[in-house]
Amino acid sequence: MALNHTGLMIIRTWIEQGSSKPLRARIRLTRDIGTAFESEVTLADVPQVSAAVESWLQDVILDGEAP
């Protein structure tokens, strides 16, 4: 049975009133909570945030499939 890794992504959002792109999404993520958070990034676009979530999920799947 494969080792059971648990990933974690935290997306903290807020709105900067008056900005041309008011969304701020601070993302902290790890593919395995056995390690520390691997990266942090702030994004201002919904599609970018969606892409970050998708990319992280793909990484989690790949890690789960690794021997």
Binding site: T6, L8, I10, Q17, S19, S20, R26, T30, A36, L43
Partner: protein, 240 residues
């Protein structure tokens, strides 16, 4: 009475990292399950039902195994250490008189956010250092992450208010420290940068105000490709 000033034989700390002190001596060999139990109780101001406690701390275990894990976490505390927990048949809580840093810190933050409720000493360096620390930053349990985010929001707002209060009192250096702590916690949050610029302007330091604005503008541009809002631009319009 401020709990921080009370002499407490038992202390549970969750700010920065977990620690459990008995008579001032840290218990370094406490098993992780026992640490999680004490941290969870420290974050609650009231007794917690055993079932809720076991289910929250061991969410992926069966009810039977979660209760067994809870009993194990308790049994692995020494007799002296166990006095930190008030145990009944149905509930657990931290014993009365145990000092808990986050409870003290939350009270401090709320006093700062509610003018007129401050204690003497709330506006000192200790407040800035207390409000600069994250809660259990390396813990990933659902309950710990939620508590950490809640504390983060509270401390950011309290740092904003503290910077404003210190500026009004003419304590510009301390106000800068509070604003910089807020910037460090969330580097792309405009409110904190605006507070810093306003402090420099209040003390008549236009060069630093402009430098702070430029720093934020460059950061925002490099990270997100955006310009600062008109609200923060208006702060430095007259001195550019």
């Amino acid at each position: 009475m401020n709990p921080r000033n009370a002499v407490s034989d038992l202390e549970v700390s969750v700010l920065g990292s977990f620690s459990f002190l008995v008579h001032g001596e840290p218990r370094r060999d406490l098993p992780h399950g026992s640490q999680r139990l004490l941290a969870f109780l420290a974050l609650r101001d009231r007794a917690v039902a055993r079932t809720a406690l076991a289910g929250t701390l061991w969410p992926e275990a069966s009810e039977e195994h979660a209760h067994a894990s809870l009993r194990s976490a308790l049994s692995r505390l020494s007799d002296i250490d166990r006095s930190v927990v008030r145990i009944t048949l149905q509930e657990l809580a931290l014993a009365d008189g145990v000092f808990v840093d986050i409870r003290d810190a939350r009270l401090l933050a709320h006093r700062i956010l509610n003018p007129g409720t401050e204690d003497k000493g709330d506006l000192d360096d200790r407040a800035i250092s207390t409000l600069s620390v994250d809660l259990l930053p390396d813990w990933y349990d659902d309950w710990a992450v939620a508590e950490a985010e809640e504390w983060r929001q509270l401390r950011l707002h309290a740092l904003d208010a503290l910077a404003e209060r210190l500026t009004a009192n003419g304590r510009y250096a301390d106000a800068c420290s509070a604003a910089l702590a807020a910037v460090k916690a969330e580097p792309l949050r405009e409110t904190a940068h605006a507070a810093l610029i306003q402090i420099y302007l209040a003390e008549g330091n236009r060069a630093e105000a402009l430098a702070a604005y430029e720093h934020y503008r460059e950061l925002l541009s490099s990270e997100l490709g955006l310009e600062p809002t008109s609200l923060i631009q208006a702060l430095i319009e007259d001195i550019q």
